[in-house]
């Protein structure tokens, strides 16, 4: 959202150019300070709008005349009025079309459904309003890497309030979400791998309509990206079991903000085990878990073994690119089996594992064949070199004998 609306209380305006406000406010101390450098970065300023867009007044007049009540000067905007003020332009499709036809205009209505919006409506002005997330006076487009709502910066922006225990006191919600998110696989994808499509706070909670996903909608949220896992989960017995127990689907095993990269060990019985937190050792589910884990471990080992043999053949200069390519298919089968685990059906998981094992076995054989071919070539080289050496020695002896005979004659 381009949050901060630029419209005067008395009417919308655009393409205003003269702006004497900065002459004084550029020289004032904070919080009244707004410099030319700061305001020139603002998307609204770049579109030709001035301070009067929000604050009213007449920026073409000098000194205090610019801030006369008769010119509609409003002064500082109260926090409680900010969403409505922004919404006067940003909810007006006809007005916004002239600046950005692709921009949505439902931000205000979404905000009103959010926890922030509902609390604001009840008079709680501590909650986030448009300017808290988007900034004020240097408000940038979300696609600008310096924007507070640029994907890489969203978590930090939310954390400004949500990680501040003293500020959040009284709301009875945790303040460790940001710390947990920083350890998560989603954070790694976003920050370390610079994958801007990776999830951040707003991906799961929504942005203008920010609210925690309810127990029933957690699966829907995760399935936006993890489509196949969700399809498998639909087939599982866990779905009904979790629903009847009032448990929030995916989060039960994977947690929420601190979701880490899942390993096969979660199916095990060690310190990372998850299944056994609910299931009883020796029951049918425990047996199924053990079988699925054995299948995954077996395929993983088979792939590693084939990789090793193919790698040795490759480093010996053998052409094994086809086997290398097939190994990727075996790895795909392993990934697929790990996804199928969400169905918790042994037969389905086994199908993927058997497919992967078959490919890994073929690749192992291809690697062995390449090594056998390498040895065959080296043996052939040995024989050829012996033959060449004998021929060279024979030639040498022949030349010597020939030249001795010539010398005698």
């Amino acid at each position: 959202m381009l949050a901060l609306a630029i419209c005067v209380f008395t009417g919308k305006s655009h393409a205003q150019t003269a702006n004497t406000c900065l002459d004084c406010h550029g020289a004032l101390d904070p919080p009244l300070q707004v410099t030319e450098a700061q305001f020139s970065q603002d998307i609204h300023s770049q579109k030709g709008l001035t301070c009067a867009g929000c604050h009213g007044g007449d920026p073409t007049k000098a000194d205090m005349d610019a801030m006369s009540k008769s010119a509609g000067f409003r002064g500082k905007i109260e926090r409680g009025q900010i969403p409505a003020l922004c919404g006067r332009c940003h909810s007006d499709g006809t007005f916004m079309r002239q600046y950005n036809p692709g921009l949505r205009t439902d931000q205000l209505s979404q905000y009103q459904t959010s926890v922030h919006g509902k609390l604001l409506a009840k008079g709680d002005t501590k909650v986030a309003v448009c300017t808290d997330c988007h900034g004020v006076h240097d408000l940038r487009a979300p696609s600008d890497a310096a924007s507070r709502v640029y994907p890489l910066n969203v978590a930090k922006t939310c954390a400004r309030c949500h990680a501040d225990a003293s500020y959040m006191k009284g709301y009875s919600i945790p303040t460790d979400q940001f710390a947990k998110y920083n350890t998560s696989v989603h954070h790694e994808a976003m920050v370390v791998r610079s994958d801007l499509s990776a999830p951040t706070c707003t991906t799961c909670h929504g942005n203008h309509g920010a609210a925690p996903p309810g127990v029933d909608s957690v699966r829907n949220v995760c399935s936006n990206c993890h489509v196949f896992q969700a399809q498998m989960y639909e087939k599982s017995t866990h779905k009904t079991a979790f629903q009847s127990a009032g448990l929030p689907g995916c989060v039960v095993c994977h947690s929420n903000h601190g979701v880490t990269h899942p390993t096969d060990a979660r199916l095990g019985t060690g310190s990372q085990a998850i299944c056994m937190q609910c299931h009883t050792p020796g029951d049918d589910c425990d047996k199924a878990r053990a079988e699925m884990l054995a299948g995954l471990t077996g395929l993983s080992e088979a792939i590693k073994g084939a990789d090793q043999v193919v790698g040795v053949a490759e480093s010996s200069g053998m052409e094994v690119s086809e086997a290398r390519l097939q190994q990727d298919q075996a790895r795909d089968s392993l990934t697929k089996a790990r996804v199928t685990i969400h169905s918790f059906q042994r037969a389905l998981v086994d199908q993927d594992i058997q497919a992967g094992l078959k490919i890994a076995a073929q690749d192992l054989q291809a690697g062995k064949d390449a090594l056998a071919e390498r040895d065959y070539r080296r043996r052939g080289l040995g024989y050829a070199l012996v033959f060449i050496l004998l021929t060279v020695v024979g030639l040498f002896l022949y030349i010597r004998q020939n030249e001795r005979e010539s010398a005698k004659s």
Binding site: S321, R378, G380, L381, I388, L395, F396, N402
Partner: protein, 361 residues
């Protein structure tokens, strides 16, 4: 042996065989402490023969199109019986041939074998060296792998810097503005038709000149022999020298076989013209000294573009090198010393810039 005599008699009766090979029987090779340098030309010729033979075998399977070239070489390497051996020998022999051709050129230069009356032998040899480098450049692209594709792109881009005709030259090489399947087809044509034809003609001329003027004796040895003719020694070309040459060929064959079996020539990954160029793109080792020079040369020297100046200097140096025997002049000592100095400088420069090219990041 009776059969051989019969065949010889049959040929002699019809074509005057004995008369035809008489010059070979009479040909002799001087014997002195530097005689072993005479083998280099023969080894280069032997390697050219290997190239022709293995090249013909590769042609049975190779397909010169952007869609099929890589796959056909992969097929040769993995499915064709002994295809790996033929392709690896072809690639290794190409590199060894360039190495022996360069060594042959420098040996001729340092032994002053180019001097009168062998000036044209030198010129034909230099043309052969350029043709061999042309074989290397055109053949490098044929497997259509990533490294070859981008190295050719860089190499042909450099030709575009040649003043006046650079752009046209690049279009001639590439068959268009970019390196595409058209470039591959064109390079294939150069590699299997144009260059072999020219090279065969030039080899015949070179050999005819060698046969006509005989082997050169280094000036210092020649002076010693003139002072004391009893010291002059020589051996018959046939069979004495030829048998020794054959020993060298066998050893070269062994080296080739060992390289092919222990380190088969890599295929790499298929070229993707729309993909990003991999890091560390560089040409084959025999072009490295030129590539590295153009890389380190300042972008502007006085008011001239550095790269253009570098290409002009290399072009001029190449032309001067071809005409080297004519530059010695009639000055008894100063001329040869000057050429010897130029030769040492060129050799040191080529080695130093090649090593620098490989170690520089």
């Amino acid at each position: 042996m009776r059969l051989v005599s019969k065949v010889r008699g049959w040929l002699d009766e019809r074509f005057g065989w004995a008369e035809l090979i008489a010059p070979l029987r009479e040909k002799s090779v001087p014997i002195h402490k530097l005689s072993y340098w005479y083998f280099l030309g023969g080894i280069t010729l032997f390697l050219f023969g290997i190239q022709v033979f293995t090249g013909i075998l590769l042609l049975l399977y190779y397909r010169p199109s952007a869609n099929e070239a890589f796959e056909s070489v992969q097929y040769i390497m993995t499915r064709v019986r002994f295809g790996w051996l033929v392709r690896s020998i072809h690639s290794w022999a190409a590199n060894l041939m360039i190495l022996t051709a360069i060594a042959h050129m420098f040996s001729v230069l340092f032994l002053r074998a180019y001097r009168k009356p062998r000036e044209l032998t030198w010129v034909s040899g230099m043309i052969l060296l350029f043709l061999v480098l042309g074989f290397g450049f055109s053949g490098y692209l044929l497997p259509w792998n990533t490294l070859a594709f981008f190295a050719t792109k860089v190499g042909t881009e450099i030709t575009a810097q040649v003043p006046l005709v650079g752009h046209e030259l690049m279009i001639l090489l590439r068959g268009g503005e970019e390196v595409t399947g058209a470039t591959l087809t064109r390079f294939f044509g150069f590699h299997v038709a144009l260059l072999p034809g020219l090279t065969t003609l030039m080899i015949l001329l070179h050999l005819a000149l060698v046969q006509r003027f005989g082997m050169s004796v280094p000036p210092r040895v020649e002076a010693q022999w003139k002072a004391d003719p009893s010291k002059a020694r020589e051996m018959k070309f046939f069979p004495n020298f030829l048998l020794r040459e054959m020993m060298a060929w066998y050893i070269a064959l062994g080296v080739l076989g060992a390289l092919a079996a222990i380190s088969p020539w890599e295929l790499g990954t298929k070229a993707d013209p729309f993909g990003a160029a991999p890091a560390g793109i560089r040409p084959e080792w025999y072009f490295m000294f030129m590539f590295q020079t153009l890389k380190v040369i300042p972008s502007k020297i006085w008011r001239v573009d550095g790269e253009v100046l570098g290409i002009l200097v290399f072009g001029l140096a190449g032309a001067v090198w071809v005409l080297l025997p004519f530059l010695e002049g009639k000055r008894e000592k100063r001329g040869p010393r000057m050429l010897l100095g130029a030769g040492v400088f060129a050799l040191c420069y080529i080695v130093a810039m090649t090593v620098y090219g490989y170690v520089a990041k």
